[in-house]
């Protein structure tokens, strides 16, 4: 049997990770098309946190989280810096009983997989970990030293390199301008360089661009954009005398960025019906820095005054805005679509770095062996048509 030709549109974390997982099959012939640079758009603005326990992804998908985390740990072990791991640990703060229960389950799962983690109610100890925190209105916090954050751009580039080593091809600076559909079957594509390619399977890995990508096959991809608004803060005194951990609250999260602190509003706090939070925009018009809304200043000031008063008087170094691609249930869209041979690996929302490895592993199985997995069933396109 001949090789299966797969064309991937988009060279972010989704496309490169899928490309790599496909390249592990002998009979896969993979080409990734990236209109700009590898991992240079939404992926570059990802915080890259893969925490062992937090509320970013339901505990029900623990396997997804663990596979992502361990994939990157292995990557980092193979070549230091290739996943950009910064092992700062994570502090997940329980603001109410429900969050507390989620954290506790997460800790149990992490421990079962051989990692350490604890739920701390001693406020003095929480302050030792994060001296600038306010502990008045919290129940406790989950803490582990074993995770931290990664670098989505580095990971994408590393996957791209590994894929190329396995024979895959990457076209950067090349935009897909047309997808050819014959009798409701995707058969190939055309690029901005005017070249035509034939493929057995085409996968849309364009995240926030999927709306536009989908139009090429006449499909309305049901994703919204939520705004990921972030600030880089320069702490008072310019330098903290402790390691700022990945810090998670239901409404926002923070992590260190050099001597600075990166703070971002979390995506689960986004209301898809609020035009300030969500809508459908053109990611090509996103500025590299700036673009945050005025309300974000008030939001963060209120949050930090209440939650982390020690850093509320930090300097505002810079800000950025990114669009996350979110289906209405905040879970990705993976697998087959009504157009034969046209698949999706998009809508990861803010969780591309966490979810891409497990999702790509399973999607590669579907593409190469036509095998379904529970994850693919959960995240299939059909669910959104109901």
């Amino acid at each position: 049997m001949g090789k299966k030709r797969i064309g991937i549109i988009g060279g972010g974390i989704s496309g490169t990770c899928l490309g790599y997982h496909l390249s592990l099959y002998d009979n896969a012939e993979v080409v990734v098309f990236e209109k700009d640079t590898i991992g240079g758009a939404s992926t570059a603005k990802s915080a890259g946190t893969v925490c062992l326990f937090d509320d970013s992804l339901k505990n029900r998908y623990w396997d997804v989280r663990l596979y992502g985390f361990e994939s990157y740990l292995k990557m980092e072990a193979e070549e230091k810096g290739s996943a950009g791991f910064d092992k700062t640990g994570t502090l997940v703060v329980a603001t109410d009983k429900k969050v507390e229960a989620t954290i506790k389950t997460g800790i149990a799962l992490a421990k079962a997989a051989g990692y350490s983690g604890e739920y701390i109610t001693d406020k003095g100890r929480i302050k030792e970990i994060l001296p600038d925190i306010a502990t008045d209105n919290i129940l406790g916090a989950g803490y582990t030293q074993e995770d931290g954050y990664f670098d989505g751009t580095m990971i994408s580039n590393t996957y791209a390199k590994k894929m190329q080593k396995n024979g895959g091809a990457i076209k950067t600076g090349v935009k897909v301008t047309d997808v050819k559909v014959v009798d409701n079957k995707a058969t190939g594509l055309t690029t901005s360089e005017g070249e035509d390619y034939e493929f057995d399977v085409i996968v849309d890995c364009t995240g926030p661009w999927s709306k536009f990508t989908g139009e090429m096959v006449g499909m309305d991809i049901p994703i919204w954009h939520t705004k990921a608004e972030a600030f880089f803060l320069c702490p008072p005194g310019k330098k903290l005398d402790y390691t700022f951990p990945v810090l998670k609250y239901p409404a926002f999260y923070g992590l260190r960025a050099g001597d600075n602190i990166f703070i971002c509003k979390s995506h689960l706090s986004m209301d898809l019906n609020n035009p300030m939070h969500a809508g459908q925009w053109d990611p090509d018009k996103l500025p590299a820095t700036g673009g945050t809304d005025d309300y974000f200043i008030d939001f963060l000031l209120d949050q930090l005054e209440m939650r982390v008063p020690g850093i509320v008087d930090s300097g505002l170094v810079s800000s950025w805005l990114s669009y996350r691609a979110e289906p209405k249930d905040f879970l990705p869209i993976l697998g087959k679509t009504p157009v034969e041979g046209y698949m999706l690996a998009t809508g990861y929302g803010g969780n591309g770095v966490i979810e891409a490895p497990a999702a790509s592993r399973d999607l590669a199985k579907l593409i190469m062996r036509d095998e379904m997995t529970p994850l693919l069933e959960d995240w299939e396109f059909n669910r959104l048509l109901k």
Partner: protein, 325 residues
Amino acid sequence: MANGICIFAEYYNGKIEPVTAELITAAHFIKETTGEKIQLIVVAKDCDQLVKQLEPAGADEVYAVETKRDCIFQDDALSSVITDMIRKIEPSSVLIPATPMGRSIFSRVASKLGCGLTADCTEVLTAKREDGTFYIKQNKPSFGENVFVTIETKPGIYPQMMTIRQGVYTAYEGETDAVKVTYLENIEIPASKLEVVEVVPARNDTNSILASETVVVGGRGAEEEEDFALLKAFAEKLDAAIGGTRPLADSGKIPFQNQIGQTGFTIRPRICISIGVSGAIQHTEGIKDTKLFVAINTDENAAIFNVADYGIVGDMKELLEAYLS
């Protein structure tokens, strides 16, 4: 009728600046079409020896005003003298080096004359209007170097005044015909509200990657002890600050405050040499507005070559050792 291509002869410490010869080349290109005379103007305390330097430079005329005092940085007074000179000479165009001195003095001259001033031209082209008069198309970069715009001085407004970037024209090496030197005697230098009170040797601040004019940026490819030592020696030779991407900060080779990319800080050095930086977007977004950006990397497909002006594919060790010797 305005006639002549006038050039501001900038000097420092008694020496005519080499850029003057470049502007003479630009003037000869205009002269080829318009046939106008090339005129040099100089204002100085010790004027004679500067005029001597200008005589063989390739111009047709030299106009000089000798001042009673040294008037360096006295733009208010100098611009007044030069305005008077231009009113007397009545050139159709004035070419000025795009230097701090040139743009600072001639911004005032242009305001006095109401003639406008085009900044930082990289090309000047002569063209003809329907009424037979010549004009100069002044091309200059804008938005970094991403676009170029053509600027024209409106018809009837003279002189057409522009600053020209250094290094875009080669120095004039042609023959000089008889040159006519004129000292304009009736122009007095007025009092100035500016006075140089002290001159001390300047230092480049290489501790701060934000302040330093030259920055050497190391990436993962410069992480090994031996490589980094070489990078350090290279930076020292260049009087440059050292910045680095996260791996160098993580390993403690550079302080976190010198980390570039993913910290929110953007550096804007005039010269940036990157060594072993792959060019992930977070790093390149952290470096902007450079005048010279050279990237050195072993991987010829590294994304950094899409943002650098010059690229060197190769082993940093061999290259830097060659540079240092």
